[in-house]
Symmetry: C2
Subunit: 196 residues, 2 copies
DNA sequence: TTTAAATAAGCGAACGCTCACTTATATTTG
DNA sequence: CAAATATAAGTGAGCGTTCGCTTATTTAAA
Protein backbone atom coordinates (compact mmCIF):
# COMPACT_ATOMS: atom_id res chain seq x y z
CA UNK A 1 0.00 0.00 0.00
CA UNK A 2 1.32 3.35 -1.01
CA UNK A 3 1.66 5.68 2.00
CA UNK A 4 0.13 9.12 2.11
CA UNK A 5 2.26 12.13 1.35
CA UNK A 6 1.35 14.20 4.41
CA UNK A 7 2.89 17.24 2.80
CA UNK A 8 0.08 17.18 0.23
CA UNK A 9 -2.71 17.36 2.81
CA UNK A 10 -0.84 20.16 4.58
CA UNK A 11 -0.55 22.06 1.33
CA UNK A 12 -4.26 21.62 0.64
CA UNK A 13 -5.25 23.00 4.04
CA UNK A 14 -2.77 25.88 3.90
CA UNK A 15 -3.63 26.96 0.37
CA UNK A 16 -7.35 26.70 1.10
CA UNK A 17 -6.97 29.20 3.94
CA UNK A 18 -4.86 31.50 1.79
CA UNK A 19 -7.32 31.35 -1.11
CA UNK A 20 -10.38 32.01 1.05
CA UNK A 21 -8.69 34.92 2.82
CA UNK A 22 -7.50 36.36 -0.50
CA UNK A 23 -10.67 35.92 -2.56
CA UNK A 24 -13.47 35.15 -0.12
CA UNK A 25 -15.69 32.10 0.10
CA UNK A 26 -17.17 32.84 -3.27
CA UNK A 27 -14.28 32.76 -5.67
CA UNK A 28 -13.00 29.72 -3.83
CA UNK A 29 -13.17 26.49 -5.83
CA UNK A 30 -11.90 22.95 -5.63
CA UNK A 31 -10.17 23.06 -9.03
CA UNK A 32 -8.54 26.40 -8.15
CA UNK A 33 -7.38 24.95 -4.84
CA UNK A 34 -5.96 21.88 -6.56
CA UNK A 35 -3.92 24.06 -8.90
CA UNK A 36 -2.68 26.24 -6.03
CA UNK A 37 -1.71 23.23 -3.89
CA UNK A 38 -0.06 21.41 -6.79
CA UNK A 39 -2.31 18.35 -6.68
CA UNK A 40 -5.04 16.86 -8.80
CA UNK A 41 -8.65 17.75 -7.96
CA UNK A 42 -9.26 14.04 -7.45
CA UNK A 43 -6.59 13.91 -4.75
CA UNK A 44 -8.55 16.35 -2.64
CA UNK A 45 -11.42 13.87 -2.68
CA UNK A 46 -9.19 11.22 -1.15
CA UNK A 47 -8.90 13.33 1.97
CA UNK A 48 -12.33 14.94 1.93
CA UNK A 49 -15.83 13.74 1.10
CA UNK A 50 -16.86 16.92 -0.68
CA UNK A 51 -16.33 20.67 -0.74
CA UNK A 52 -18.58 21.15 2.28
CA UNK A 53 -16.65 18.72 4.45
CA UNK A 54 -13.34 20.12 3.22
CA UNK A 55 -14.16 23.63 4.39
CA UNK A 56 -15.79 22.41 7.60
CA UNK A 57 -12.78 20.37 8.65
CA UNK A 58 -10.34 23.20 7.97
CA UNK A 59 -12.58 25.53 9.93
CA UNK A 60 -12.75 23.27 12.96
CA UNK A 61 -9.00 22.60 12.77
CA UNK A 62 -8.11 26.28 12.86
CA UNK A 63 -10.58 26.98 15.67
CA UNK A 64 -9.16 24.16 17.78
CA UNK A 65 -5.63 25.46 17.29
CA UNK A 66 -6.72 28.96 18.23
CA UNK A 67 -8.53 27.75 21.33
CA UNK A 68 -5.58 25.71 22.56
CA UNK A 69 -3.34 28.68 22.04
CA UNK A 70 -5.56 31.10 23.93
CA UNK A 71 -5.67 28.84 26.99
CA UNK A 72 -1.87 28.55 27.30
CA UNK A 73 -0.63 29.35 30.81
CA UNK A 74 -4.23 29.93 31.84
CA UNK A 75 -6.19 28.38 34.68
CA UNK A 76 -9.75 29.13 35.85
CA UNK A 77 -8.38 29.58 39.36
CA UNK A 78 -6.28 32.59 38.47
CA UNK A 79 -6.99 36.00 39.90
CA UNK A 80 -9.37 37.85 37.64
CA UNK A 81 -7.13 40.63 36.37
CA UNK A 82 -4.22 38.26 35.84
CA UNK A 83 -6.35 35.63 34.08
CA UNK A 84 -7.97 38.13 31.75
CA UNK A 85 -4.57 39.62 30.91
CA UNK A 86 -3.17 36.18 30.07
CA UNK A 87 -6.06 35.53 27.70
CA UNK A 88 -5.80 38.92 26.01
CA UNK A 89 -2.07 38.38 25.56
CA UNK A 90 -2.57 34.90 24.14
CA UNK A 91 -5.18 36.04 21.66
CA UNK A 92 -3.04 38.97 20.58
CA UNK A 93 0.05 36.80 20.23
CA UNK A 94 -1.86 34.21 18.20
CA UNK A 95 -3.17 36.87 15.91
CA UNK A 96 0.32 38.31 15.46
CA UNK A 97 1.76 34.88 14.69
CA UNK A 98 -1.12 33.63 12.53
CA UNK A 99 -2.87 36.64 11.02
CA UNK A 100 -4.20 34.48 8.18
CA UNK A 101 -5.90 32.08 10.59
CA UNK A 102 -7.54 35.00 12.32
CA UNK A 103 -8.85 36.50 9.08
CA UNK A 104 -10.01 33.08 7.97
CA UNK A 105 -12.05 32.58 11.13
CA UNK A 106 -13.54 36.05 10.83
CA UNK A 107 -14.67 35.22 7.30
CA UNK A 108 -16.16 31.90 8.38
CA UNK A 109 -17.89 33.36 11.43
CA UNK A 110 -20.99 34.38 9.50
CA UNK A 111 -21.39 31.26 7.40
CA UNK A 112 -23.22 28.06 8.28
CA UNK A 113 -19.82 26.35 8.54
CA UNK A 114 -19.30 28.11 11.84
CA UNK A 115 -22.12 26.24 13.58
CA UNK A 116 -19.84 23.26 14.18
CA UNK A 117 -17.18 25.57 15.57
CA UNK A 118 -19.69 27.17 17.94
CA UNK A 119 -20.75 23.74 19.15
CA UNK A 120 -17.11 22.86 19.86
CA UNK A 121 -16.31 26.16 21.53
CA UNK A 122 -19.39 25.88 23.71
CA UNK A 123 -18.13 22.64 25.17
CA UNK A 124 -14.43 23.35 25.69
CA UNK A 125 -14.24 27.13 25.85
CA UNK A 126 -17.51 27.79 27.63
CA UNK A 127 -16.82 25.39 30.49
CA UNK A 128 -13.37 26.73 31.30
CA UNK A 129 -14.25 30.38 30.93
CA UNK A 130 -17.57 29.90 32.69
CA UNK A 131 -15.66 28.47 35.66
CA UNK A 132 -13.17 31.36 35.51
CA UNK A 133 -16.03 33.86 35.68
CA UNK A 134 -17.75 32.13 38.62
CA UNK A 135 -14.48 31.87 40.56
CA UNK A 136 -13.76 35.55 40.03
CA UNK A 137 -17.24 36.45 41.24
CA UNK A 138 -16.81 34.37 44.39
CA UNK A 139 -13.50 36.08 45.11
CA UNK A 140 -15.30 39.45 44.72
CA UNK A 141 -12.93 40.38 41.90
CA UNK A 142 -15.71 40.64 39.34
CA UNK A 143 -19.19 42.14 39.61
CA UNK A 144 -21.93 39.49 39.21
CA UNK A 145 -23.16 39.48 35.61
CA UNK A 146 -24.96 37.33 33.08
CA UNK A 147 -22.34 35.43 31.12
CA UNK A 148 -23.18 37.19 27.84
CA UNK A 149 -22.78 40.66 29.35
CA UNK A 150 -19.49 39.62 30.89
CA UNK A 151 -18.23 38.20 27.60
CA UNK A 152 -19.32 41.22 25.59
CA UNK A 153 -17.47 43.64 27.86
CA UNK A 154 -14.46 41.41 28.56
CA UNK A 155 -13.52 40.28 25.03
CA UNK A 156 -15.38 42.19 22.32
CA UNK A 157 -13.18 45.31 22.62
CA UNK A 158 -10.04 43.29 21.95
CA UNK A 159 -11.54 41.71 18.84
CA UNK A 160 -12.60 45.14 17.61
CA UNK A 161 -9.04 46.43 17.98
CA UNK A 162 -7.76 43.42 16.05
CA UNK A 163 -10.35 44.16 13.36
CA UNK A 164 -9.13 47.76 13.08
CA UNK A 165 -5.56 46.48 12.89
CA UNK A 166 -6.42 43.98 10.17
CA UNK A 167 -8.18 46.51 7.98
CA UNK A 168 -5.37 48.96 8.72
CA UNK A 169 -7.64 51.89 9.56
CA UNK A 170 -10.66 52.93 11.59
CA UNK A 171 -13.55 55.30 11.00
CA UNK A 172 -11.51 58.42 11.71
CA UNK A 173 -7.83 57.47 11.39
CA UNK A 174 -6.44 56.46 8.03
CA UNK A 175 -3.90 54.14 9.58
CA UNK A 176 -3.93 52.02 12.71
CA UNK A 177 -1.53 49.52 14.23
CA UNK A 178 -2.33 47.55 17.35
CA UNK A 179 0.54 47.24 19.81
CA UNK A 180 1.10 46.16 23.39
CA UNK A 181 0.60 49.63 24.82
CA UNK A 182 -2.80 50.08 23.19
CA UNK A 183 -3.85 46.62 24.31
CA UNK A 184 -2.89 47.38 27.93
CA UNK A 185 -4.71 50.69 27.83
CA UNK A 186 -7.90 49.03 26.59
CA UNK A 187 -7.57 46.15 29.03
CA UNK A 188 -7.27 48.73 31.80
CA UNK A 189 -10.64 50.22 30.85
CA UNK A 190 -12.27 46.80 30.65
CA UNK A 191 -10.97 45.85 34.09
CA UNK A 192 -12.25 49.13 35.47
CA UNK A 193 -15.69 48.25 34.11
CA UNK A 194 -15.72 44.71 35.47
CA UNK A 195 -14.12 45.09 38.90
CA UNK A 196 -16.48 45.72 41.82
CA UNK B 1 -41.84 55.51 -23.24
CA UNK B 2 -42.79 52.71 -20.93
CA UNK B 3 -42.18 53.68 -17.27
CA UNK B 4 -40.29 51.51 -14.79
CA UNK B 5 -42.19 49.36 -12.36
CA UNK B 6 -40.50 50.56 -9.18
CA UNK B 7 -42.03 47.69 -7.27
CA UNK B 8 -39.79 45.32 -9.25
CA UNK B 9 -36.58 47.01 -8.17
CA UNK B 10 -37.78 46.99 -4.56
CA UNK B 11 -38.53 43.28 -4.80
CA UNK B 12 -35.09 42.59 -6.25
CA UNK B 13 -33.34 44.39 -3.38
CA UNK B 14 -35.52 42.83 -0.69
CA UNK B 15 -35.26 39.27 -1.99
CA UNK B 16 -31.50 39.63 -2.50
CA UNK B 17 -31.10 40.45 1.20
CA UNK B 18 -33.36 37.56 2.21
CA UNK B 19 -31.51 35.10 -0.03
CA UNK B 20 -28.05 36.12 1.15
CA UNK B 21 -29.08 35.95 4.81
CA UNK B 22 -30.72 32.57 4.28
CA UNK B 23 -28.05 30.87 2.18
CA UNK B 24 -24.94 33.00 2.41
CA UNK B 25 -23.00 34.78 -0.33
CA UNK B 26 -22.12 31.51 -1.95
CA UNK B 27 -25.40 29.93 -2.84
CA UNK B 28 -26.60 33.34 -3.91
CA UNK B 29 -27.12 33.67 -7.67
CA UNK B 30 -28.69 36.02 -10.14
CA UNK B 31 -30.99 33.38 -11.63
CA UNK B 32 -32.14 32.33 -8.19
CA UNK B 33 -32.75 35.94 -7.24
CA UNK B 34 -34.77 36.53 -10.42
CA UNK B 35 -36.99 33.56 -9.66
CA UNK B 36 -37.47 34.68 -6.03
CA UNK B 37 -38.29 38.26 -7.03
CA UNK B 38 -40.60 37.14 -9.81
CA UNK B 39 -38.70 38.80 -12.64
CA UNK B 40 -36.50 37.71 -15.51
CA UNK B 41 -32.72 37.57 -15.00
CA UNK B 42 -32.40 40.11 -17.78
CA UNK B 43 -34.59 42.58 -15.88
CA UNK B 44 -32.03 42.66 -13.09
CA UNK B 45 -29.45 43.76 -15.64
CA UNK B 46 -31.61 46.77 -16.55
CA UNK B 47 -31.14 48.08 -13.03
CA UNK B 48 -27.61 46.78 -12.36
CA UNK B 49 -24.45 46.50 -14.45
CA UNK B 50 -23.43 43.11 -13.08
CA UNK B 51 -23.64 40.90 -10.00
CA UNK B 52 -20.81 42.81 -8.34
CA UNK B 53 -22.53 46.17 -8.69
CA UNK B 54 -25.87 44.67 -7.64
CA UNK B 55 -24.51 43.42 -4.33
CA UNK B 56 -22.41 46.55 -3.77
CA UNK B 57 -25.33 48.90 -4.23
CA UNK B 58 -27.60 46.91 -1.92
CA UNK B 59 -24.82 46.84 0.65
CA UNK B 60 -24.26 50.60 0.54
CA UNK B 61 -28.02 51.21 0.60
CA UNK B 62 -28.53 49.17 3.75
CA UNK B 63 -25.52 50.74 5.46
CA UNK B 64 -26.76 54.26 4.70
CA UNK B 65 -30.18 53.45 6.08
CA UNK B 66 -28.63 51.97 9.22
CA UNK B 67 -26.37 54.98 9.72
CA UNK B 68 -29.20 57.50 9.32
CA UNK B 69 -31.23 55.52 11.81
CA UNK B 70 -28.49 55.35 14.41
CA UNK B 71 -27.99 59.13 14.34
CA UNK B 72 -31.68 59.93 14.99
CA UNK B 73 -32.16 62.36 17.88
CA UNK B 74 -28.38 62.50 18.26
CA UNK B 75 -26.09 65.50 18.29
CA UNK B 76 -22.31 65.62 18.89
CA UNK B 77 -22.96 68.30 21.53
CA UNK B 78 -24.90 65.97 23.79
CA UNK B 79 -23.64 65.01 27.21
CA UNK B 80 -21.53 61.90 26.95
CA UNK B 81 -23.71 59.40 28.83
CA UNK B 82 -26.87 60.67 27.17
CA UNK B 83 -25.37 60.66 23.68
CA UNK B 84 -23.99 57.15 24.03
CA UNK B 85 -27.33 55.91 25.36
CA UNK B 86 -29.18 57.44 22.41
CA UNK B 87 -26.85 55.65 19.99
CA UNK B 88 -27.10 52.31 21.76
CA UNK B 89 -30.88 52.62 21.79
CA UNK B 90 -31.01 53.55 18.10
CA UNK B 91 -28.81 50.64 17.10
CA UNK B 92 -30.83 48.23 19.21
CA UNK B 93 -34.12 49.54 17.87
CA UNK B 94 -32.89 49.31 14.30
CA UNK B 95 -31.79 45.76 14.85
CA UNK B 96 -35.15 44.87 16.40
CA UNK B 97 -37.04 46.45 13.50
CA UNK B 98 -34.75 45.21 10.71
CA UNK B 99 -33.02 42.04 11.92
CA UNK B 100 -32.49 40.92 8.33
CA UNK B 101 -30.59 44.10 7.47
CA UNK B 102 -28.37 43.59 10.49
CA UNK B 103 -27.57 39.98 9.60
CA UNK B 104 -26.98 41.02 6.02
CA UNK B 105 -24.43 43.65 7.04
CA UNK B 106 -22.70 41.18 9.36
CA UNK B 107 -22.32 38.76 6.46
CA UNK B 108 -20.99 41.45 4.15
CA UNK B 109 -18.57 42.87 6.71
CA UNK B 110 -15.83 40.40 5.86
CA UNK B 111 -16.14 40.53 2.10
CA UNK B 112 -14.49 42.94 -0.30
CA UNK B 113 -17.90 44.52 -0.87
CA UNK B 114 -17.61 46.16 2.52
CA UNK B 115 -14.70 48.37 1.50
CA UNK B 116 -17.08 50.85 -0.12
CA UNK B 117 -19.19 50.84 3.03
CA UNK B 118 -16.13 51.52 5.19
CA UNK B 119 -15.19 54.42 2.96
CA UNK B 120 -18.69 55.87 3.32
CA UNK B 121 -18.85 55.32 7.08
CA UNK B 122 -15.44 56.92 7.54
CA UNK B 123 -16.69 60.15 6.01
CA UNK B 124 -20.15 60.51 7.57
CA UNK B 125 -19.97 58.42 10.72
CA UNK B 126 -16.38 59.14 11.67
CA UNK B 127 -16.74 62.91 11.51
CA UNK B 128 -19.85 63.08 13.68
CA UNK B 129 -18.71 60.53 16.23
CA UNK B 130 -15.18 61.93 16.24
CA UNK B 131 -16.64 65.32 17.16
CA UNK B 132 -18.82 63.71 19.84
CA UNK B 133 -15.76 62.11 21.41
CA UNK B 134 -13.70 65.31 21.40
CA UNK B 135 -16.56 67.30 22.90
CA UNK B 136 -17.02 64.75 25.67
CA UNK B 137 -13.30 64.87 26.45
CA UNK B 138 -13.35 68.66 26.67
CA UNK B 139 -16.30 68.51 29.06
CA UNK B 140 -14.30 66.04 31.20
CA UNK B 141 -17.05 63.44 30.75
CA UNK B 142 -14.76 60.99 28.96
CA UNK B 143 -11.17 59.97 29.66
CA UNK B 144 -8.82 60.98 26.84
CA UNK B 145 -8.28 58.00 24.53
CA UNK B 146 -7.17 57.12 21.03
CA UNK B 147 -10.29 56.91 18.85
CA UNK B 148 -9.91 53.18 18.22
CA UNK B 149 -9.68 52.34 21.93
CA UNK B 150 -12.73 54.50 22.59
CA UNK B 151 -14.70 52.86 19.79
CA UNK B 152 -13.72 49.34 20.83
CA UNK B 153 -14.89 49.88 24.41
CA UNK B 154 -17.92 52.03 23.58
CA UNK B 155 -19.58 50.00 20.82
CA UNK B 156 -18.09 46.52 20.43
CA UNK B 157 -19.88 45.10 23.51
CA UNK B 158 -23.28 46.06 22.10
CA UNK B 159 -22.55 44.39 18.78
CA UNK B 160 -21.40 41.27 20.62
CA UNK B 161 -24.70 41.11 22.50
CA UNK B 162 -26.60 41.49 19.23
CA UNK B 163 -24.48 38.69 17.79
CA UNK B 164 -25.38 36.41 20.72
CA UNK B 165 -29.03 37.34 20.27
CA UNK B 166 -28.95 36.59 16.55
CA UNK B 167 -27.37 33.19 16.98
CA UNK B 168 -29.76 32.57 19.89
CA UNK B 169 -27.09 31.28 22.26
CA UNK B 170 -23.67 31.98 23.70
CA UNK B 171 -20.73 29.82 24.73
CA UNK B 172 -22.33 28.70 27.99
CA UNK B 173 -26.07 29.38 27.73
CA UNK B 174 -28.15 27.43 25.25
CA UNK B 175 -30.54 30.30 24.74
CA UNK B 176 -30.13 34.04 24.84
CA UNK B 177 -32.44 36.98 24.18
CA UNK B 178 -31.26 40.55 24.26
CA UNK B 179 -33.64 42.97 25.95
CA UNK B 180 -33.64 46.53 27.26
CA UNK B 181 -32.56 45.54 30.75
CA UNK B 182 -29.48 43.65 29.55
CA UNK B 183 -28.58 46.52 27.26
CA UNK B 184 -28.80 49.02 30.11
CA UNK B 185 -26.70 46.80 32.35
CA UNK B 186 -23.98 46.52 29.72
CA UNK B 187 -24.11 50.21 28.89
CA UNK B 188 -23.66 50.92 32.61
CA UNK B 189 -20.40 48.95 32.63
CA UNK B 190 -19.18 50.68 29.49
CA UNK B 191 -19.90 54.11 30.95
CA UNK B 192 -18.08 53.11 34.12
CA UNK B 193 -15.05 52.26 31.99
CA UNK B 194 -15.09 55.45 29.97
CA UNK B 195 -16.00 58.10 32.54
CA UNK B 196 -13.09 59.84 34.30
C1' DT C 1 16.03 -13.43 -1.84
C1' DT C 2 13.08 -12.86 -5.55
C1' DT C 3 8.87 -11.44 -7.49
C1' DA C 4 4.18 -11.01 -8.40
C1' DA C 5 -0.33 -10.01 -6.28
C1' DA C 6 -2.77 -6.62 -3.61
C1' DT C 7 -3.83 -2.03 -2.27
C1' DA C 8 -4.26 2.73 -1.70
C1' DA C 9 -2.36 7.25 -3.40
C1' DG C 10 -2.47 10.08 -7.00
C1' DC C 11 -3.51 12.02 -11.58
C1' DG C 12 -5.43 14.08 -16.24
C1' DA C 13 -9.43 14.47 -18.60
C1' DA C 14 -13.88 14.86 -18.87
C1' DC C 15 -18.94 14.79 -17.27
C1' DG C 16 -23.27 17.01 -16.21
C1' DC C 17 -24.86 20.99 -14.39
C1' DT C 18 -25.28 25.73 -12.85
C1' DC C 19 -23.54 30.16 -13.31
C1' DA C 20 -23.41 35.16 -14.86
C1' DC C 21 -24.76 37.29 -18.59
C1' DT C 22 -26.86 38.24 -23.69
C1' DT C 23 -29.99 38.19 -27.57
C1' DA C 24 -34.18 38.34 -29.98
C1' DT C 25 -38.74 39.47 -29.30
C1' DA C 26 -42.90 41.22 -27.17
C1' DT C 27 -45.22 44.72 -24.37
C1' DT C 28 -46.47 49.14 -22.76
C1' DT C 29 -46.27 53.72 -22.55
C1' DG C 30 -46.03 58.94 -24.64
C1' DC D 1 -44.64 55.07 -34.39
C1' DA D 2 -40.75 55.69 -31.12
C1' DA D 3 -38.61 54.32 -27.10
C1' DA D 4 -37.90 52.17 -23.09
C1' DT D 5 -39.16 48.16 -20.09
C1' DA D 6 -39.59 43.34 -19.58
C1' DT D 7 -39.06 38.74 -20.87
C1' DA D 8 -38.15 33.73 -22.55
C1' DA D 9 -34.74 31.38 -24.32
C1' DG D 10 -30.61 30.97 -24.84
C1' DT D 11 -24.82 31.20 -24.53
C1' DG D 12 -20.14 29.87 -23.25
C1' DA D 13 -17.47 29.50 -19.12
C1' DG D 14 -16.60 27.45 -14.96
C1' DC D 15 -18.19 24.66 -11.23
C1' DG D 16 -17.94 20.25 -8.18
C1' DT D 17 -17.24 15.75 -8.86
C1' DT D 18 -15.98 11.20 -10.98
C1' DC D 19 -13.74 7.83 -14.12
C1' DG D 20 -10.15 5.10 -15.99
C1' DC D 21 -5.77 4.63 -15.29
C1' DT D 22 -0.76 4.80 -13.38
C1' DT D 23 2.50 4.81 -9.52
C1' DA D 24 4.47 3.63 -5.19
C1' DT D 25 4.65 0.57 -1.44
C1' DT D 26 3.64 -3.63 1.37
C1' DT D 27 2.86 -8.46 1.74
C1' DA D 28 3.88 -13.06 1.34
C1' DA D 29 4.28 -17.14 -1.48
C1' DA D 30 7.95 -19.47 -4.15
Amino acid sequence: MRPRDEHKEQQIRQKAIELIVAEGLDGFGVNKLARAAGVSPATIYIYHKDKEELISSICVGVAEKMMDFSLQNFSPDMDFAEGLRVQWRNRLEYFMQCPLDMEFIEIMRYTHFYEKVTAMLTISFGQILGAFMRNAEEKKQLVPLPFEVYWAVAYAPLYQLIKFHNQGNSYVNSSFTLDDKLMEQTLGLVLKALKP
